[in-house]
């Protein structure tokens, strides 16, 4: 238990010591998206009845930033440790697979939630209402960060070089997070994109998170919860298996 707690604390400190890059920077990026898109699309896109486009945009941007940063945390920490070799300090002690996984995961979730909170705070003045269903918002915030945090751990263990990780990030994580209905309601999409969005777990996170704020969404929050929850269980199982067998960690 103490092993887990120490590793968790180390992972939190690792990003917290450079919070300017790991928390402030993504919050600023999201704010810029908010400024640009709300200005350009204000009068064009029809979101939900009674919900302005500018307000509609906020939870999606927050969830997207949470997802990207939860992914970045574990993946960058692990690849740096592997490449510099200081991962031995974590491999030598008797840390269990679950302790290892939970520590990296929770640190990633912490960073994701901090970034998400930051985005909500700096964009709230665009007309974000208080959450209509706070528990749903919290559930999707946590689970969404959990899914991407786990994916980050998997990518960090799998990648052997920085460019492999960058490829993972640019060709998988970025498309998944950008093409997830952050900037539009998928009901406005042509049928093929509409169908494709349904294969993207990030879409369900965003839709569910939005439901937490507006009490309405494109699909049922229960379905979204099911998809996001199942994704988490599947990915967590894979990550635990990798850690337990020492995949790419122990030769």
């Amino acid at each position: 238990m103490n092993g887990f707690y120490t590793l968790f604390k180390k992972e939190v400190l690792r990003f917290w010591k450079v919070a300017f890059q790991t928390v402030s920077a993504p919050v600023l990026t999201a704010l810029m998206y908010q400024l640009i898109f709300s200005h350009v699309l204000r009068s064009h896109v029809d979101a939900y009845p009674g919900v302005s486009y500018t307000a509609f945009l906020i939870p999606g941007l927050a969830m997207m930033s949470m997802a990207q940063n939860a992914f970045a945390n574990g993946s960058s920490s692990l690849i740096q440790s592997k490449i510099t070799g200081n991962i031995v300090f974590i491999l030598l002690p008797p840390l269990g697979a679950l302790e290892f996984f939970a520590a990296y995961l929770l640190a990633a979730v912490c960073r994701g939630l901090l970034v998400g909170l930051g985005v909500l705070v700096v964009t709230a003045w665009f007309g974000l209402p208080l959450p209509a269903e706070p528990l749903w918002a919290l559930a999707f915030g946590l689970l969404g960060c959990g899914v991407l945090g786990t994916l980050g751990i998997i990518a960090g263990i799998w990648a052997e070089k920085f460019d492999q990780l960058a490829a993972f990030q640019n060709f998988l994580i970025m498309p998944l997070t950008f093409l997830s209905g952050v900037f539009y309601s998928i009901n406005s999409l042509p049928p093929i994109w509409y169908a494709a969005s349904h294969a993207n777990p990030v879409f369900y996170m965003i839709d569910g998170f939005r439901y937490g704020f507006f009490g309405q969404a494109d699909i049922s929050p229960w379905l979204s919860l099911g998809v996001v929850g199942a994704s988490f269980v599947a990915l967590a199982t894979l990550a635990l298996w990798m850690i337990k067998t020492g995949y790419k960690l122990r030769h």
Binding site: M1, G3, T6, K9, L13, K17, T84, N86, L92, P93
Partner: protein
């Protein structure tokens, strides 16, 4: 008593390369043990297998009786490893690194021991310095401290003195000797053979993944002691002694004797030939000598 380390038929391949080939030996509790071998012999691979950083393909390893696979947790609690590569986490200070390392081993409030380690390793002044700001030798000392935070009964040092100045090397060995006196089992690899010779009581030599020697240091030295005698004579060496002549050194003739008893005969032959002995000395063998001849495949 359980062996501190018990290695039984351990083999490990990296692709086509046989990094370890059926290696078996034990290290007993309280020993000061040296693992020697040229670059690429498999020393680090063997240590990685002990530490669970690598998995052997075949064979079994126990640390203080705990199997490194089946009882990995207990095995790792019993083992402290100083890796060969200089590695550190640039995000933290020396003290933080040691506190984290203690925590990973499940230890809380380890600061008294951390302070002692810092003191013994001459790091007290650097306790709050960032790891990045330390010199290479100091980083190496932190790695030693990190390996000792949980007071492991078995300590393995993979070339701990590479890149470390003479003064620190001495104080490091004093400290390791102290740990050994306190009952810790020590295993070290080094390319400075005089270190192994002065510190260790038993020596294993690896060559291309195979164990080629495993002896008490003294036995090894004695077995290898080729009884060489260096002479300066008033004239030519009698032909009868030519087969013993191995080389010349500083203008002296060096004769290799099968045993010390043969010296009598040599002296008698010289006397009978009417030669005067101007200088005579016995040459000492050292570990380096033994090592080189072992690695050249000579039977000693």
């Amino acid at each position: 008593m359980t062996s501190a380390i018990s290695i039984d038929g351990v083999s490990k391949r990296y692709g086509a390369l046989q990094a370890l080939d059926s290696v078996s030996f034990n290290v007993e509790q309280g020993e000061f043990f040296a693992l020697l071998g040229p670059n690429g012999a498999g020393k680090t691979t063997l240590i990685s297998a002990l530490a669970g950083l690598a998995r052997q393909d075949r064979g079994q390893i126990r640390i203080m009786g705990h199997d490194t696979v089946a009882a990995a947790r207990d095995a790792r609690m019993s083992l402290g490893v100083v890796p060969q590569e200089l590695v550190f986490d640039p995000f933290f200070t020396v003290r933080e690194a040691l506190q984290f390392q203690s925590g990973y081993f499940g230890l809380r409030r380890n600061d008294a021991w951390i302070d002692e380690l810092l003191f013994k390793l001459g790091l007290t002044e650097k306790a709050n310095a960032n790891m990045r700001a330390l010199s290479g030798g100091m980083k190496r000392r932190v790695m030693v401290a990190q390996a000792l935070v949980h007071r492991p009964p078995v300590i393995v040092l993979d070339e701990p003195t590479a890149g470390v100045d003479v003064e620190l090397r001495q104080s490091l060995w004093d400290f390791v000797q102290e740990l050994n006196d306190a009952g810790h089992t020590i295993v070290l690899t080094t390319h400075y053979l005089e270190e192994a010779e002065t510190l260790c009581s038993r020596i294993a030599m690896l060559k291309r993944g195979r164990l080629v020697a495993l002896e008490d240091k003294d036995t090894l030295l004695a077995r290898a002691a080729k009884r060489e005698v260096a002479l300066k004579l008033s004239g030519e060496l009698p032909t009868a002694l030519a087969p013993l002549h191995s080389r010349n050194e500083d203008g002296r003739l060096v004769l290799t004797l099968p045993s010390l008893a043969d010296l009598e005969g040599v002296l008698a032959t010289l006397r009978n030939a009417g030669l005067e002995i101007r200088e005579l000395s016995m040459l000492e063998t050292d570990l380096e000598h033994v090592f080189v001849s072992m690695m050249n495949g000579e039977q000693v």
